[in-house]
Amino acid sequence: MTVPWLTLLGLVPLVGAGALLLPIKELARYLGMFFALLTAAAGIGVAVLYTGGASLAEKVAWMPNFGTWWALNVDGMGLVMVLLTVALTPVVLLAEWKLDSVGRWTPQAFVALVLLLESLSLYTFLAADVLLFYLFFEATLIPMYFLIGGFGGAQRAQAAVKFLLFSLAGGLVMLISVIGLYVYSIRVLGTPSYLLGDLAGMALPTDVGRWLMLGFLVAFIVKAPMVPVHTWLPTATEQATPGTSVLLVGILDKIGTFGMIKFCLGLFPEASQWVAPAMVVLALISIIYGAIAAIGSSDMLRLIAYTSVSHFGFMVLGIYTFTSAGISGSIFYMVNHGFSTAALFLVVGMLIARRGSSKVADFGGVEKVAPVLAGFLLFAGLSGLALPGLSSFVSEFMVMAGAWSRQPWVGAIAALGTVLAAVYILLMYQRTMTGPVSEATAKYFTTDAGLREKWVAAPLIAVILILGFVPGLALKVIEPTTQQTMSHVGVTDPVAPLGEEGK
């Protein structure tokens, strides 16, 4: 009997979440960290065992009469998302080590919810059955809802409801398509099936395929927040703790772009090409609007949320250029954005922990009293604006190269986004860190980054640097998925593959 590695991988944090139901109070953080690290080890184990293709696929009957299976599989894109998830979770737990109780919302509950969320997210990335994916896609909302609503700012309950309603609305539109897939799998295949393998080759009538694809796409657009359905994200990050925001933006929102590649392109290749022009325009709007809104933000947490809206625009743009550089760049961007946004949120979290405010105007001259913290923020910011040498540069360049090779004007507008990125990051840095030391700064910033905080930032900085200088590490894993997606959709690169330049 083969060992169900993928099931076990998701089971580790789930067991951890269960163990945290025990009344252990002070030990909760350590136990949570133990399980998070164990999951990280399991994730690395899966990466080692993965030899390409369906080498780790699992399939067990769940509701076979309805064509639904407990089917898990991992491909290149799934693997990097798994690694991103297992890497960020322990960092988040370490960053929120000093979290205070809010009534009954204890740090123990926080750790348990984070582990539950990790488990559900892992299964979402691994699912190879549409209904199974849908179940986990929606189930991730519940722990995230309680994470936002239980811990954070004064308006957190409203923010949690707003988050949930947007996500549920998108998810329910997807449910229509999920049901439609079932109905059409019977009509076309003769037997109900939700297996991705069966559905991918299904010849749907053109208009049906387009409608069903739109159902999925709406859910993913809400998830990956794109303008105009992004409004829940700034509200959520402003109210949630920075750790929660990392999980939300770094991991959960990736399901949106991940889903576009795996489900929209994978199941409805014709419809995806049909919708591509609209998506490119929407992506460009997100890039520019997100950047401008970030420049105008007076709150750092909202600012980071808007930068993410802009960055998600890049990811979506990459996907719908239908070039190998664009798609590879987009997947790589998902990873890089995960780490660089995590760095931004967590460093800002360290600033908030001292100042008790996230308003840009409440800071000033911090680099003089807390140079290490300022350095962290600068590094995280530069990673956010895609400075060459840092990992996000590679992916952003690949996306723009892909866009340019299809339509030069698209690449040109996207390039404008990178200019604006420099503006919003550097303006924020200038306003908060440079200049004379303000009274409040002198009063609140009595300590620079502590040992724990250095350990939070160190792994993120290391990953950003390593992937910046040796992007091939990740691209080698991602490339097969890209090639497979390209051939499945039936497109080829317009000119000589530009992806090579990124290496």
């Binding site: 009957a61 769940w62 509701m63 009469n65 309805f66 009534g103 009954r104 209904l131 849908y134 179940l135 986990f136 896609f137 929606e138 189930a139 909302l141 519940i142 309680f146 609503g149 239980g150 957190r156 309950a157 949690a160 409801v161 949930l164 309603l165 549920l168 609305a169 329910l172 539109v173 449910l175 229509i176 999920v178 049901i179 439609g180 079932y182 109905v183 019977i186 003769g190 037997t191 109900p192």
Partner: protein
């Protein structure tokens, strides 16, 4: 002259007969047992009787005995097994709530003397003497037996008699609340008047259908529809009038006006009992009537029911949005669930070798998920109390998560199941009914259902937000309830999760029951 002995399948009908017999025994207990022993005797009779009925049902199920029983009056088929089983299980769980005495100072939720005028001396006297109405147990059992027959009746006369047997005890039970008695009596009267009216519609419709088919038997009506002689209008009018009676019992718009008032006025355990079992029986009877008797004429009734399903979903969830009383909220939520169930009825999808979803199976699964969630929900409603009794105002539920996390979590689970969030039974139920409707060619109704689901989600979320994220309300606490309340809460919450994560086994059983016996 040769008179044939009527055949009567005693063993196959034993589940219904047991319930009836135990109800009669309950009446005898009221007559002969001393007051002090009645409560214990009645509760043990209910528990043993319903378990025995379930036992008979299980024996028949294992023997796979199916057939049209009692001279063509009742069909014992796979759907009947499941509906009877569900009625018995949910009946048992919700009648257990009747027996809760710990929450209210050692007395039950029922009036000390329902016959005395509210505020009169005789009321005060019987209250002081700690009297209680133990008749509620046999009354509930009589009603339950009526429901079992109603859901399985295959001729109109049996259906009508069963309808009355199930309804009359409910009218009485609704008027017996210990607190806010005038409200309760008003609810009972309203329920009785409107219920009688709907029964009259049903009866009138029966007469017209008889005029068309020349028979009360579903099979004969079906045959008449196949070979129409004259008067399709007669059939349509008759069916429409009968639908009024059926939709009234289901609580579908525009025949839903009694639901909120009766749900609020009736003692909460009775509300819980009605909310599940009436809906089960009425939906079962509706589906059987439309599918078996009028299946061949479905092009005529599908559009009409589709319209009813649409407005029921939308009106139910929109009115639930504005409610401030938890029982009224649950009442409107129950209206909206009636709409979701009707979506599957409209689809009229039959299982084939390649397609395992059918309207009947999806309806039954939905009702199971709804039943478990409802029994737990109303059990929790009885537990949240302030000095004056149950605290039904939603604002007084604020911060419940801090006062009693376990009970609040159980309530949150059933709310999520009502909302149809994945990993709960409610989601699988919704997925099933929507699939059945789409396969029947009603994809637009699925879209409408999804929109209604979103509004519904907000309704239930508001309660969860208030329980977990709001500052605790003063003076409200979760009462220390006995096992008779805690068991329904636990069973309901655990089953809601189980049906969401491991629906396979239940789904297999339900899928096997996708066709009515004709």
């Amino acid at each position: 002259m040769n008179i044939a002995t009527p055949t009567f399948e005693w063993l196959q009908l034993a589940p219904v007969l047991t319930v009836l017999l135990v109800a009669c025994l309950g009446v005898v207990v009221e007559a002969v047992a001393p007051r002090a022993y009645r409560f214990v005797l009645q509760v043990s009779l209910v528990v043993l009787g319903l378990l025995a009925a379930l036992g008979f049902l299980a024996v028949n199920y294992v023997n796979e005995s199916v057939g049209i029983l009692a001279e063509g009056a009742v069909a014992l088929d796979r759907p009947t097994y499941l509906i009877w089983g569900a009625l018995l299980v949910f009946g048992l769980l919700s009648i257990l709530l009747f027996a809760e005495r710990k929450l209210d100072n050692g007395v039950s939720a029922f009036a000390a003397s329902a016959a005395s005028i509210p505020g009169s001396v005789s009321e005060t006297d019987s209250s002081a003497a700690r009297h209680e109405h133990t008749e509620v147990f046999p009354l509930a059992l009589f009603s339950l037996s009526g429901m079992m027959v109603f859901a399985s009746a295959t001729d109109l006369i049996t259906a009508f008699v069963a309808l009355e047997v199930m309804s009359l005890p409910l009218y009485l039970l609704s008027g017996m609340a210990r607190r806010r008695r005038l409200l309760s009596q008003e609810a009972a009267l309203k329920y009785f008047l409107l219920g009688s009216m709907s029964s009259a519609f049903f009866l009138f419709g029966m007469a017209l259908v008889y005029g068309y088919a020349g028979s009360f038997d579903y099979k004969a009506i079906d045959a008449a529809v196949f070979t129409p002689t004259y008067g399709h209008g007669l059939l349509l009018t008759g069916a429409a009038l009968m639908a009024v009676g059926l939709l009234f019992k289901i609580g579908a718009v525009p025949f839903h006006n009694w639901v909120p008032d009766v749900y609020v006025g009736a003692p909460t355990p009775v509300t819980g009992f009605m909310a599940i079992t009436t809906k089960l029986a009425a939906v079962g009877a509706t589906a059987r009537f439309f599918f078996v008797a009028l299946g061949a004429d479905r092009w005529s009734w599908q559009p009409l029911l589709a319209a009813v399903a649409l407005v029921t979903m939308i009106v139910g969830v929109v009115l639930a949005l504005t409610q401030t009383d938890i029982k009224r909220l649950l009442a409107y939520s129950s209206v909206s669930h009636a709409g979701f169930i009707l979506v599957a009825v409209v689809g009229a999808t039959v299982a084939t070798t390649s397609n395992y979803t059918s309207s009947v199976a999806s309806i039954i699964f939905y009702l199971l998920a709804y039943g478990f969630a409802t029994v737990a929900a109303f059990a929790v409603v009885t537990m949240v109390r302030d000095a004056a009794g149950e605290a039904n105002d939603i604002t007084s539920w604020a911060g419940l998560g801090q006062k009693n996390p376990v009970i609040a979590a159980a309530f949150a689970i059933v709310m999520l199941s009502f909302a149809g969030i994945p990993l709960t039974g409610g989601f699988i139920g919704k997925w099933e009914v929507f699939t059945a409707a789409w396969q029947g060619g009603y994809s637009w109704l699925v879209v409408a259902g999804v929109i209604a689901s979103l509004i519904a989600a907000y309704v239930y979320l508001k309660v969860i937000v208030s329980m977990f994220f709001a500052a605790p309300a003063e003076g409200v606490s979760v009462g220390k309830a006995g096992l008779v309340t805690l068991v329904p809460v636990g069973v309901g919450a655990i089953a809601s999760i189980y049906l969401g994560i491991f629906p396979g086994p239940v789904m297999d059983v339900v899928t096997a029951a996708s066709i009515f016996l004709r």
